[in-house]
């Protein structure tokens, strides 16, 4: 016979299990985020996977906003068929990404996939989309193999492949006349790859790297002792690759300790528009290279920002980030594919052929594909005060830049700055 204690223990276990089942059941229905529709006849189902929680969740949410905008523009209907976007949160975990994709494909019967976001997830789902002939348009998943050794005719990437942009930054540093540089980057694979990529190009075009300083990512509160290395050997320019808290701290402390007055600072990420409110005036005058920014004055970007005001309201549209733009771009590309086959999403080859031929104006400027990878311009920015707040403004434009340009010796031209 069970004692009173044991009976209570079992009762508690049973109650907790029921509670858990209810919570899981309740949340899975909420999470499917299915749009109410008159019926499933004629519905085109598009899956979306990316991080909506945890690390990258903030930016993943922006990518999703952009994607939704692309469909919102057409009132969620193409060629007489309604669109349903099925969203799954895949917080940068490849195992989760694959599991969610299987659910979307087998249970929800998606026709097309937008995603994933992280490189690891991209590698995890590669064989699945290839075997199942599932058209997949990723707004990021930078790992180069997905459009090189492991390429698939069903996969398109609107972002740059890793190794595509870093050499551009090295080339640009040399072109702008800097002879020496010191790098600061977080100590992990992508950080080291980035520095290596820039270094190869910078040295090829005549530059010299003084120091490469790597710091533990996300755990460095005080950069002052690292910055002191600039006093030991002073370069023409300092390059930093950092994001999140590291970026905010680095830029603030770079100004606090007076380095900004002595040595110009350039970055590929650290003064993104979304970090500027936290950095304040410390970010003024810092240079950045990126292919999109809120103030980019292309006709498409003006239209895109206005669209955001209509869909999300003036407050949300106050800052449109590259993540919004890349989500929108992925959405628009899928839309083009569907339109080309007049809504007959069963004709996957037809959609692929149409997408391969795309060459159009995106908010970031001219966009097309090369080997299923994005080809677009890049810009040199500087942080300025615009209408009372801090934003990046364009100084120069270059391009177009495609996968493998550096290895193949393709020339990059300076281009007219949009809006000037």
């Amino acid at each position: 016979m069970m004692t009173q204690q044991e009976k209570r223990g079992w009762a508690m276990a049973v109650m907790l299990s029921i509670f858990l089942v209810l919570v899981i059941g309740g949340f899975s229905t909420v999470f499917a985020q299915a749009k109410p529709s008159p019926g499933t006849k004629g519905l085109i189902k598009i899956g979306w996977i990316g991080p909506l929680s945890g690390v990258g969740g903030e930016d993943g949410g922006r990518v999703l906003r952009g994607t939704k905008t692309a469909f919102e523009e057409l009132k969620w209907e193409i060629a007489g068929r309604k669109i349903e976007l099925l969203v799954e949160d895949s917080p940068m975990d490849p195992a989760v990404a694959l599991a969610k994709l299987k659910k979307l494909y087998h249970d929800d019967k998606i026709d097309i996939l937008i995603g994933p976001y992280s490189s690891a997830s991209g590698l995890a789902i590669r064989d699945f989309y290839h075997t199942n002939k599932l058209l997949t348009v990723s707004p990021q998943a930078a790992v180069a193999s997905l459009t090189q050794e492991k390429s698939s005719k069903y996969f398109f990437r609107t972002w740059n492949a890793s190794g595509q942009i870093a050499p551009f930054e090295g080339w640009l540093l040399a072109k702008l006349g800097y002879r020496t540089v010191t790098f600061f980057a977080p100590d992990f694979a992508a950080g080291r790859d980035q520095v290596l990529g820039i270094k190869k190009a910078f040295e090829k075009f005549g530059g010299r790297v003084l120091q490469e300083v790597y710091f533990p990512m996300g755990r460095t509160m005080d950069f002052a002792p690292l910055l002191a290395k600039i006093d030991v050997e002073t370069p023409d320019i300092v390059y930093v690759w950092a994001f999140g808290g590291d970026a905010v701290r680095f830029v603030k402390q770079y100004a606090d300790y007076g380095y900004k007055k002595k040595v110009p600072l350039i970055t590929g990420t650290a003064v993104a528009d979304s970090f500027l409110p936290a950095q304040g005036d410390a970010a003024l005058g810092v240079f950045m290279t990126y292919w999109y920014g809120h103030t980019l004055d292309t006709p498409e970007n003006r239209r895109f920002k206005k669209l955001y005001v209509d869909v999300f309201g003036a407050e949300a549209a106050k800052l449109v980030t590259p993540y919004d733009e890349q989500g929108y771009l992925a959405g628009k590309i899928v839309v083009s594919g569907i339109q080309a086959v007049k809504g007959n999403v069963g004709d996957v080859d037809g959609m692929i052929q149409a997408i391969e031929k795309l060459d159009f104006e995106a908010p970031r400027g001219q966009f097309k594909f090369h080997q299923h990878n994005g080809v677009f311009n890049n810009y040199l920015w500087q942080v300025n005060r615009v209408e009372g707040r801090l934003l990046n403004t364009v100084l120069k434009a270059y391009g177009p830049i495609r996968q493998g340009w550096f290895e193949e010796g393709v020339e990059i031209a300076e281009r007219p700055v949009p809006g000037k």
Binding site: F215, M221, D222, L226, G245, Y257, G258, G280, D281
Partner: protein, 288 residues
């Protein structure tokens, strides 16, 4: 040893001490809680972070940094009071307390992310202390220098409180012998609640004071907790002196570690921890 090298090392030294002061504000509250109530508050780093979030929010809204500091400190102090009065008081077992405060870390982490999002938040240095001074030809931010007297003042204040006031004597009695203190008629329950709130307030104060330098971002709670725990173990659990000396030591170790070998600077800190644990496990000034 060139003069430039000397100046550089000196500047690093001042930096390390300033960093140590931030750690002290965190550690002091932690020591207070442990000393009186034997509670290991795993959520202490979270309190630091919440103090920064709330303080930055109020500071930016009002335009007055000092108001932000007050808001950050008081809001977290109240949070501490609530935690002790309604949750921790009902647990006697230390393991249970650790688990509870551990759970609070996750709750606060999610809550702050829900309210303020995943982007980093920061605030400009208050105008009064903005800018830098030239120390031997090298610019040094004024605000970091200010942190040193602020930290020392807090240390002094806490020492005076503990050694010279009646309330301080009561707190010390509670540390020495909790049961006897209750027996002689002191409301040990109220004391515990107030001490916990006070410790939390210190953490919130520290978080906001540090925010012009280190901003606030999801993950700061774990980041600062790690360093804070090292400080209290090295300094000695329950000792105010230990918290001060320990935090300065760790601040210097972190700074010089980064300067000399940036990629493995954390090794120096944990090496110190290991040495202390082997030679004097109760910490430098800990009574055990």
């Amino acid at each position: 040893m060139t003069p430039e090298k000397c100046i550089l090392l000196l500047s690093m030294g001042v930096n390390g001490i300033a960093l140590g002061m931030i750690l002290f504000l965190l550690a002091a509250g932690f020591e207070l809680m442990f000393g009186v109530m034997r509670i290991i508050n795993m959520a202490h780093g979270s309190y630091f972070m919440v103090g920064a979030y709330v303080g930055i929010f109020v500071g930016k809204l009002s335009g007055i940094f000092g108001l932000g500091v007050l808001a950050g400190a008081v809001s977290v102090g109240v949070l501490g009071l609530i935690m002790e009065r309604f949750f921790l008081r009902y647990l006697q077992d230390h393991l249970q307390q650790v688990f509870l405060t551990f759970g609070v870390v996750f709750i606060l982490s999610d809550l702050t992310r829900m309210i303020w999002g995943g982007d980093p938040h920061g605030i400009s240095t208050p105008a009064l202390f903005a800018g830098s001074v030239e120390i031997l030809g090298k610019p040094f931010p004024v605000y970091r220098l200010i942190l040193i007297p602020v930290g020392l003042l807090v240390a002094l204040g806490l020492w005076i409180f503990q050694a010279k006031t009646r309330l301080g004597a009561i707190v010390r009695a509670g540390v020495d012998d909790r049961e006897m203190t209750g027996v002689i008629g002191i409301n040990i329950k109220l004391l515990s609640t107030l001490v916990f709130g006070g410790g939390a307030l210190l953490a919130g104060f520290g978080g906001m004071m540090a925010s012009p330098i280190i901003a606030v971002v999801p993950g700061l709670d774990w980041e600062i907790l790690t360093l804070g725990l090292v400080v209290v173990v090295v300094g000695g659990l329950g000792s105010l002196r230990g918290a001060l000396v320990g935090s300065i030591l760790i601040g210097l170790a972190d700074t010089f570690g980064k300067f000399l070998f940036p990629e493995i600077s954390i090794v120096l800190i944990f090496f110190i921890l290991a040495v202390v644990l082997i030679l004097k496990p109760s910490g430098m000034f800990g009574g055990g």
